[in-house]
């Protein structure tokens, strides 16, 4: 038997909102009570970076540990259902009224009802217009844990987001960092002086950031987040508005938020500035500080996420192509010679084209290398070719390449291919590639590396 429910009156809804938003100001104060409270809030804010600060606070208040929320309809459309008896998480839903314009008779009309001629006059600024007004209603969302969807379904449900947690590919992350730098007009350069034990530096006058060449890949990512926050927020014009402690505190908070979103280890981030900073600070000071951290983190997360999603799509389509190719023309005793030759030549060609300054070329070489060695293993395993025959084939191709090459291919001097060790080292120092055009800088870099 179906139940019937009394529709909530406007008054009920208003009371619900009052209840919901009561104590929101105290909540802001609470974030600064302890380092743990602050970290907890920052991680949550990162996770729900697409939401306003008010709604993030509302979700956190009602459903601690929420991971990804959606409306009832959203889950249904994606093929999942909300578990029976689950209570929705209330949020504020922003809506905008349609802009209006004054027609010839002086009547206000919706812009949707404008004739083509009126639309033209509106565009030319010849009509009086009232912009759309923002108002709110209350809506309900449900966390994934309140549905029958699993965490493993997240990439499928949110294809444009990175919700799978840890990013292990630091090169892809670094690409994201470079995209942030480009978007914000920041240059990543070699340090202008010995950094000692400091992990990085920011030069606000020139909007440049530098990393200590001794850093590991992981440290580079973490330090860049910190230094780029300085470069974005604490410019020559604005830095006087902040104390040293405030600047460091904001940079650490932003780096912590972004890192926690991508599952980068955050244990080294220090929030020690909290105690120095909170003394004598007003509600407005705290709100302003958090707002700037929120805005900066949103921009950084969006850019890195976009880069990671593109990389993921690229890898997926490469895998699909390989599968398709293998299905269309599988390896057999008849085509093994031809396939081995093609595969090895492709791998060698990619190796020659590989450049330490181009991450894509490194990935292309790795893919071709993996493909060739998988063909070789399959050929030997199935007895279609002996190990010796395979080595002989490789030598033949190598000697052909050497003959053609003589150090020059297509009229261009090729860069010597790198050993695995060299590649790792280059990867660690990729940040210097943008500005290492001069011999002097290259020398400095080498000295630092030692």
């Amino acid at each position: 038997m179906s139940k019937t429910y009394a529709k909530k009156s406007v008054e009920d809804k208003r009371k619900e909102v009052e209840e919901l938003t009561k104590g929101m100001e105290q909540k802001v104060e609470q974030h600064f009570h302890s380092v743990e409270d602050l970290k907890d809030y920052l991680s949550f804010m990162g996770k729900f970076y697409q939401y306003s600060m008010s709604n993030t606070a509302l979700i956190q208040k009602q459903f601690r540990g929420a991971q990804a929320v959606g409306s009832f309809k959203f889950w249904k459309d994606k093929g999942f259902s909300v578990n029976k008896g689950e209570k929705g998480i209330k949020i504020l839903v922003p809506n905008k009224t349609v802009p209006k314009f004054k027609d010839e008779k002086g009547k206000w009309k919706s812009i949707n009802k404008a004739t083509p001629q009126e639309k033209k006059l509106i565009q030319e600024g010849k009509k009086e217009v009232i912009q759309g007004r923002l108002y709110f209603s209350v809506g309900h969302t449900f966390d994934i844990s309140q549905t029958n969807a699993k965490a493993s379904d997240l990439p499928k449900i949110f294809p444009n987001r990175w919700l799978e947690g840890n990013v292990e590919d630091y090169k892809a992350l670094y690409k994201g960092m470079e995209a942030i730098a480009e978007k914000n007009g920041i240059s990543i350069i070699a340090p202008k002086e010995e950094l000692g034990s400091a992990k990085g530096a920011c030069y606000p006058l020139t909007k440049e950031v530098a990393l200590n060449p001794r850093n590991s890949e992981r440290q580079n990512v973490k330090t860049l987040l910190h230094e780029m926050t300085h470069a974005k927020l604490h410019t020559t014009e604005s830095r006087a508005n902040y104390t040293d402690a405030e600047r460091e505190f904001q940079a650490e908070m932003t780096a912590y938020t972004v890192s926690s979103y991508f599952g980068i280890d955050t244990s080294e981030y220090s929030m020690d500035y909290l105690s120095h900073w909170t003394k004598g600070k007003s509600f407005e000071d705290k709100t302003k500080l958090l707002k700037e951290v929120h805005e900066t983190s949103v921009g950084f997360i969006e850019t890195i996420e976009e880069t990671l999603v593109k990389e993921r799509e690229k890898n997926q389509s490469l895998e699909k192509n390989d599968e398709k190719q293998q299905q269309a023309d599988p390896l057999s005793s008849e085509n093994v010679q031809e396939k081995m030759k093609e595969g090895y030549e492709d791998y060698k060609q990619k190796q020659q084209q590989e450049s330490s300054q181009n991450v894509d070329s490194i990935l292309d070489r790795v893919t071709a290398e993996e493909k060739y060695y998988s063909t070789k293993t399959q050929a030997i395993k199935n007895g279609w070719m002996t190990k010796e025959e395979a080595v002989k084939l490789e030598h033949q191709i190598d000697s052909n390449i050497t003959k053609n090459e003589k150090g020059v291919i297509n009229g261009q001097v090729q860069e010597k291919s790198l050993t695995f060790q060299e590649r790792v080292e280059v990867g660690n120092h990729m940040q210097f590639q943008k500005r290492t055009g001069t011999i002097k800088k290259k020398k400095e870099e080498q000295e630092l590396e030692r």
């Binding site: 429910y5 529709k7 909530k8 406007v10 008054e11 809804k13 208003r14 909102v17 009052e18 938003t21 929101m24 100001e25 802001v28 697409q50 939401y51 306003s52 600060m53 008010s54 709604n55 990804a68 929320v69 959606g70 409306s71 009832f72 309809k73 959203f74 909300v82 029976k84 008896g85 689950e86 209570k87 929705g88 949020i91 504020l92 839903v93 922003p94 809506n95 905008k96 009224t97 209006k100 206000w108 009232i130 007004r133 923002l134 108002y135 709110f136 209603s137 209350v138 809506g139 309900h140 969302t141 949110f158 509600f283 709100t287 958090l290 707002k291 805005e295």
Partner: protein, 91 residues
Amino acid sequence: MFFNKDLVLASIKAVGEDHAIVQYQDKEVEVNLSPEEAKEFHQYVVHQENMLVPMNIKTQKLFVDLEEPWYEQELEELKGISYQEEEDDNE
């Protein structure tokens, strides 16, 4: 709320020819409006009864800027968000 102590979400109790009665935190306040604003406001309320309007309690201005970006309108996961679905299917 909204991380600004002067901003509240008010519900509309009544709209007159040159004023509106709004309610927030169990207080009823009369807000002066121009006749044009009142007319416009009346139309909104007729079409959207579940309307909560941002208001600055110091200046008593309605539809104020919230100084906070709201991206929720663009989120696919919030499409079709409403009371009805939850009440019918879950409670």
